[in-house]
Symmetry: C2
Subunit: 129 residues, 2 copies
């Protein structure tokens, strides 16, 4: 039988993968904002993340409600614009999340990238389900 791993309870639970951040569109938004501390306009964010207006608004709302992103209103050449930035808390939580992602990559990538010669034998008596 496969080896027992009783001492590894929750080893791959990845509790640090915050559900607010572990979402593809929000991860792109947070990365855009962290690389541009001066702030990013709505229209630029749309382009960087390849999102529609509706999707970007929806995900920004989630991040603002969680206190991770702040919004500022002004204008760019006379047109009303909204500028977004990470909050201090947002940056801190994003660092913690990224460190957990780094752990996932370290746990999995070396094993995944090494192609097995052939599939290991099954335990005796096991059949396709």
């Amino acid at each position: 039988m496969p080896r027992k791993t009783k001492d590894e309870s929750g080893r791959y639970a990845y509790e640090g993968l915050d559900r607010v951040l572990h979402e593809k569109a929000r991860l792109g938004i947070m990365t855009s904002l962290v690389t541009r501390p001066e702030g990013v306009l709505f229209t630029e964010l749309k382009r960087l993340c390849a999102l529609t207006d509706g999707n970007l608004s929806r995900h920004i709302d989630v991040l603002q409600d969680a206190g991770l992103v702040e919004a500022w209103r002004g204008s760019d050449g006379g047109r009303p614009q909204t500028l977004y930035r990470l909050t201090t808390e947002g940056r801190g939580r994003f660092v913690a999340y990224l460190e957990e992602l780094e752990q996932v990559v370290r746990d999995a990538l070396p094993k995944a990238a090494k192609k097995p010669e052939r599939a290991p034998d099954l335990p005796p008596g096991f059949q396709p389900a």
Copy 2:
């Protein structure tokens, strides 16, 4: 104004973050399976990922429907058991996903981990939204 990034359309869209895999519980399941190519029993997988029976079943179904995981039935000391393994396709898609995660970490972590002295000035005329 923040600098323009017209040449970076979709820079942070992360199209490689497969939605089947970019889910916390499924990421734990895939990592458990990739580190144990001989297969993992349902009960072990529950423990490694700290999931309930219901949640584990639901997420395994998603992974099986996508062709990433295969199941084998047998018994362990007389009790019926199911053993799970990655399929060849599952391992390949997981590698591609992990490489994209690695890219996210490379894009964001160095910037996020460097605490700014103080918040950069806002463009003139911007007010809290």
